[in-house]
């Protein structure tokens, strides 16, 4: 793809983010503007900031990629990502704000008055944060590789350096404005090209076979296979090949492959005729996760779908970078209003990625072969609209994608670095915060170099599963159940979150490959969340004598509106 406009667009987004972050709110006011200067962040602005921080690479690129590869089943992803806020609104938002906690470990300490539970919660924040940072860096690498042909790791490295530099150099001074700006940027970057794409689609006679199984090529299309892959054919396929198929070198030869599995070596060029069905692939060693998760989904679609729904519905409340933003709301009611606004903003945004996914199935079906399905959003404008307009739209999308990586990554880095500084590193000073920032980013960066083709939406799903199994029980029971004890909370988080974490690690290590057990491990939320709740309840009941003193007062503070509580006390 021509990168004439994309690189400046990405650079512009990076520079704008850094500048707005560093100097955005350096405006001094005199006392006559006092009420302007000391106005709290309103629900709408805060909601835009939360949405900006929340809409990550998974939302921007991943969902379209999944819809492209696997069809409308994947619409559960945007539904889940949005509905998580509904659960947050109903059960958590206002009491969490009234608890006065800034981070999740703070909440654990405020509710249970236990340093041990606090440390454990801190460990899980770091774990979830790292799991969530990983796909952001990979998404950045993918975007830059698709746009400019740069090495895969470069984009991730750029995002890592920019984020660490801005966060460590005194943080985002006006982070709320930066993140709100990023939300509108991301929405624009998807909405405007989407309008043009839909117009172009209409102009082409509005073909509607997007979800025909399997997808077909609309015109003659050449595909360069970058990594060795296995084609699974359930009927013979006629293609033109330059390169090696099934171990036999060929030069611009027309081949008819019989049914069965065929190995296509890296560097091979395949040319498909118009109307050819897009063959299914089994991507050998590279990107084990893409196929493994997809396969288990094919094998047990119902189980996988429920696992996904549970993880995203219940995992949102435990995302470290989301929780800290609620602190900006002045009181519990404002926190609830903010959540409602977030639901609207995110719901609006999530209408767009499926459009890209569906159009991707029409216009760029070969991406399922090259394994760069996540790049569909980036390639579509150029492919469908074409010309300078297409390039400009592509540049806009690329800028938006980088905004997604930067905003989510900086929010996560701040949250993880905060926990590392407070609970892991020996003292709280500024120097240690910088060290924490570097540490928070170094681990996922190293992991992203090690793990090759991890589809971003799937990786984020795993982070959600761990969060749902550890923090959801802690928050829900902590807020709604007065008999929760510190040992119960610790055991529940360890068993629920720990087992989800182990399942994630096993899935990443490609164990056990296929079968029932694999499906269980790839979609852990369905058993690990109930396990977490159950452990927390049973251990709490068994250690009933350890209910922290003052629980009744603490819960009253969580649930009573602030003004009322002040009156009761007075």
């Amino acid at each position: 793809m021509n990168s004439g406009y994309a690189v400046p667009a990405v650079a512009l987004v990076v520079v704008a983010t850094v500048l707005v972050g560093a100097f955005g709110l350096r405006i001094s006011r005199t006392t006559s503007d006092f009420y302007v200067a000391s106005r709290t962040v309103g629900p709408r602005l805060n909601a835009a900031a939360i949405s900006g921080e929340y809409l990550s690479a998974a939302s921007f690129l991943g969902i379209a990629g999944l819809v492209l590869v696997q069809g409308p089943d994947m619409l559960w992803y945007p539904v889940g990502y949005t509905a998580g806020y509904l659960v947050l609104l109903l059960f958590v938002a206002a009491p969490l704000r009234r608890s006065g906690a800034y981070t999740l470990p703070d909440f654990a300490e405020a509710r249970l008055a236990s340093q041990a539970v606090r440390r454990l919660a801190g460990a899980f924040v770091v774990g979830v944060g790292w799991l969530y940072l990983l796909p952001q860096l990979q998404g950045a690498g993918l975007t830059l590789a698709v746009l400019t042909g740069a090495p895969d790791a470069l984009g991730g490295l750029i995002v890592a350096v920019v984020v660490v530099a801005t966060v460590a150099a005194g943080g985002m001074r006006s982070i709320t404005f930066v993140q709100a700006f990023q939300y509108w940027l991301k929405l624009t970057a998807l909405l405007v090209p989407a309008l043009f794409l839909v117009l172009a689609w209409q102009g082409a006679g509005a073909p509607t076979h997007a979800f025909d199984e399997p997808a077909t090529f609309r015109d003659r299309r050449t595909v360069d296979v970058q990594d060795t892959l296995a084609l699974k054919l359930d009927r013979p396929l006629t293609i033109t090949v330059t390169g090696t198929v099934d171990g036999r070198p060929r030069e611009d030869a027309r081949v008819t492959l019989p049914e069965g599995t065929h190995r296509i070596a890296a560097g091979t060029r395949l040319t498909f005729a118009e109307g050819t069905r897009v063959p299914a692939t089994d991507r050998g060693t590279n990107g084990g996760m893409s196929t493994s998760l997809a396969e288990s989904r094919e094998e047990r679609p119902l189980y996988a779908t429920y696992g996904l729904i549970l993880a995203t519905f219940l995992g949102t409340m435990g995302l470290p970078h989301v929780v800290v933003r609620f602190y900006t709301s002045p009181h519990g009611v404002a926190a609830r209003r903010t959540t409602v606004a977030v639901l609207a903003l995110i719901g609006l945004f999530y209408l767009l990625p499926p459009v890209y996914g569906a159009l991707g199935r029409l216009y760029t079906p070969e991406l399922t072969l090259t394994g760069d399905a996540d790049a569909a959003v980036l390639l579509l404008p150029d492919r469908v609209v074409g010309g300078v307009g297409g390039e400009l739209l592509g540049a806009l999308v690329a800028g938006g994608a980088f905004a997604a990586f930067l905003s989510t990554a900086s929010g996560l880095t701040m949250a993880v670095a905060g926990v590392l500084t407070q609970d892991v590193l020996p003292s709280r000073g500024v120097r240690h915060f910088r060290l924490g920032t570097v540490l928070a980013m170094a681990v996922p960066l190293a992991a992203s170099v090690l793990v090759g083709g991890l589809p971003v939406a799937d990786a984020v799903g795993l982070a959600f599963a761990v969060s749902a199994s550890s923090f959801c029980p802690l928050l829900v029971l902590g807020i709604w159940w007065r008999r929760l004890t510190p040992p119960g909370a610790a055991a529940g988080m360890l068993v629920g979150g720990g087992s989800a974490f182990c399942a994630v690690a096993a899935t990443m290590a490609d164990f056990p490959g296929t079968g029932n057990l694999h499906a269980l491990l790839a979609w852990p939320a369905l058993w690990s969340v109930p396990l977490g709740f159950l452990t927390m309840i049973l251990v709490s009941l068994a250690t009933a004598s350890r209910v922290p003193p003052g629980t009744a007062a603490i819960l009253a503070r969580f649930h009573l509106p602030e003004e009322l509580h002040a009156e009761v006390k007075a």
Binding site: R29, R173, T176, M289, G418, L450, V451, V504, D510, K569
Partner: protein
Amino acid sequence: MTGFLAGLLVAVLPLLAAGFWLGRRTARPEGLGGGLGTPVEYATFETLHTASLAAPPLRAGLTEETARRSARRLRTLLGTDALCLTDHESLLVWDGVGGHHRTEIMERLAGPLESGRGEAFRLHCEVPDCPVRWAVIAPLTVDDRVHGALVACAPRESAVLVRAAGEVARWVSVQLELADLDRSRTRLIEAEIRALRAQISPHFIFNSLAVIASFVRTDPERARELLLEFADFTRYSFRRHGDFTTLADELHAIDHYLALVRARFGDRLTVTLQIAPEVLPVTLPFLCLQPLVENAVKHGLEGKTGTCHIQITAQDTGAEALVVIEDDGAGMDPVLLRSILAGETSPSGGIGLSNVDDRLRQVYGDDHGLVIETAPGAGMKITARLPKYQPGVHRTARLTTD
């Protein structure tokens, strides 16, 4: 293969972290390990170490919770089979074997608790192979008043145990005395807060009323506005619920205060604000920024005929809010300032600074005191770091030791 590596990494990292943490937790302080000194010296260190471990819980006073947490260490210190701690009325904890002697011991306690003198006696027991046959009672006294007792039980009579129990009881008493001291210190600080509240205004009230009076004829509308500002400010500073407030409320109080001050000094005083909206919900001790602004106003206008500029900044730095109050006034000699903060001298108005400093240290710990940069003639810059979350700090909480 790379997938496997990454999975391994993900699995191993938390394990490594957990191991590191456990190692640090269980590692003995340097020198206790081995190869150090004679057996006698080693035993001494061991004893001192156990004693130091038992001390922290007791520093919070004698309750069921603290007794439970310290009893096991104390029993290790004494080397007995059973140990119990009691207060006046009830047995707080029984650590070790022979728990069925609880009632018997409580019955025997009345005497020692009354007299304040220790006692050793044989236990009567129906159980044939009961492991404890004999008990030593050593009272715990604070300021010559008996607070409770330490009871050590053993299989047979032992003069060593009597002596040891007496010494340990005395050591526990010292810890309890320190706890008492902590409580008095808190009460003192609470009294100081009340004092600061009561003290906030005399001069300020007279001056404000005088200014308002001066406007009553010339500009009644302005006078009315100022009266309302005055009412708002006094309502805030005399409110009674909770010892904490939000940064937003405190800033509003400062605004009312500044409106009254500006009415008095007119153009001689300019103030600029730069406030990150993210930190406005931060909870902080009630009236701990207003005295700093009052101080800045005083220093800024002191002995100067020109104008004074005050800059108030609140920044978001992750888990903390950074509040800076800066004036370009007369400044102060750092030596004098140090003695004010140490409570040695209290010139007019100085009490505000040292009180704010004390309260911040009390609430957030010693590394969160005020940082003041100043020199004579160079203005003054006061920096306060306020954590966004601190256990026990919320809007309706009361200031306590814990």
